[in-house]
Symmetry: C2
Subunit: 372 residues, 2 copies
Amino acid sequence: MIIQSFIPPRRTLMGPGPSDISPQVLQALSRPTVGHLDPSFIGMMDEVKALLKYAFQTENDFTIPISAPGSAGMEACFVNLIEPGDKVIVCRNGVFGERMRENVIRAGGIAEVVDDIWGEPVSIEKVEQAIKQHPDIKILAFVHAETSTGVRSDAESLGKLAKQHGILTIVDTVTSLGGITLKVDEWQLDAVYSGSQKCLSCTPGLAPVTFSPDAIEKIKSRQSQVRSWFLDQSLVLGYWSGEGKRSYHHTAPVNSLYALHESLLLLKNEGLEHAWRRHQDMHNLLRDGLEKLGFEFVVKADARLPQLNTVYVPEGVDEAKVRSHLLEQYNLEIGGGLGEFSGKAWRIGLMGYGARRENVSLCLKALEESLR
Amino acid sequence: MIIQSFIPPRRTLMGPGPSDISPQVLQALSRPTVGHLDPSFIGMMDEVKALLKYAFQTENDFTIPISAPGSAGMEACFVNLIEPGDKVIVCRNGVFGERMRENVIRAGGIAEVVDDIWGEPVSIEKVEQAIKQHPDIKILAFVHAETSTGVRSDAESLGKLAKQHGILTIVDTVTSLGGITLKVDEWQLDAVYSGSQKCLSCTPGLAPVTFSPDAIEKIKSRQSQVRSWFLDQSLVLGYWSGEGKRSYHHTAPVNSLYALHESLLLLKNEGLEHAWRRHQDMHNLLRDGLEKLGFEFVVKADARLPQLNTVYVPEGVDEAKVRSHLLEQYNLEIGGGLGEFSGKAWRIGLMGYGARRENVSLCLKALEESLR
């Protein structure tokens, strides 16, 4: 096997993530590596925390990026908040709800599943009923923006409902952070995780998380040790904490954090509300074009994610073949369906830096030509 | 707080890692991101596997980089191989042996600790005795190259001893891979993990691992589920496996893998044996210079790691002040002591791309000037 340097093709990324990345972020990524205990780096870590607080709209002091992908961010929330025997309501309306259920079980918890049809938002009524049915529920877990279906659930109502009942929430905002309205403090969410490679338009590999004071209290009052050493946030906190000497936990992914810093700075400079509006505007353009081409959306209009457009594959079309054609002929990536929608739907992302007019036009024209 | 793009200083990294990184690797890092299921990316993944097999000197099919730092690589080995109640001998002669013990306990295992003095290699005799004392031992865990002390243990003898007794080994090669002789197959090691940021001279954030057929058999015959979803290698395997359709597990850290590919390619092109010799040669130069300056090594000559030189801080010297001076005046990073050696020793790394003549000279001259 003769191996040479890998020179990737230049794609336009309009799948479910990773999303298109700004040249500025790629440039930041390749700046010279410094030590993970270098004073200059520690200053940058504080800025990353401040920028993440802004993105999450929270004052939570514990707001950091986990040094691993979004699924490790998910696991960090579950293993730290759940103790063996804890009962957890898991809302399942797509792939990531099911993954939450698996996390509950592996963390030693008991999962009470509230199912909704794929492509529909989590039903507040069903959750309310489940809370009444199980007065010993400790945690409510749900996905804000289901990456497998493109549906938005009402995180505000779910957060406030849980808080009324003294229940902690674990919320998946992997695809929502930076793309649609998300207000961690106002909505009273407790343990919230995301990913770097969606609407933040950073490279994949980091998982921003934030823990509310209530979540921290639960972690501090644990009777049993967290099952994961790497994800034990009481240890991680010593490394990211702003006061005194940083205690070594693991070697931070220095360069990836340069990129996250830059992508969060781009978001800050644009302004969150402006970014949310841009995602909506680009979605409207894409939606109009797709409907003109005869596409049908999986999700009804009022629960649709602007940053992830899930449409049914037209009848008689070999969906994998079209996606390969788009990739090979246009260097354009769109996503296939996942789980129940595998082979039946396409997922077209307009995330972060990818939510640009030229991307919408390219996608519409390339689809039109490819489906002829 | 006014935040601007982070422009890091240009350091010479001679601590315990991250190590100096070749400009070629930094360049690879910033190439355009492609989707993690892109055919071009999947071809690159196969090359990364092949290059890692070469670096580890193994034919193990399951040889991949975990999408998280070295400590997650450690955890991946422990959570996959240990089932609740399994007895594990843990050799502890530094910080990372103790971390192994914590991993055993969190994975539900029982740790039988074999202690050796910090700075001395693991005693084969003590391990042999422990095996005789505990006939129900399932796993032997030890560190090949202790990053906290700079000592090398005899991984070959320990690997073969364990195999004779039908015991699996978990071996930490975070600091050894690429820097000193390591032959996974010949030494019959079973679950071996490393880090990207030491002698591979890649950016921090990835953990190469390799599992022998015996280790895979143990994973496949587990009675209980792996406690971590993210690190469950039976799931990860589906993503990295060379045959058929890749099943989605998590979004791979695409750009970090570009960098790993490039750094492994540099190692392959140099040749492993040449790289090992270069580390030894540079160590000899540095050792001669340090001894001329009056430094004393913590580790005796025959167990010393060429890539990590641990020396006692001269009496009466404010060690933190000197390190700050080196960083501020020379942009040179050396490492402080860890654990028992905190405040008492310095750790000078000559790892991967950092094992260069100009680094040795800079370090010696800067130390000489700073200690005057």
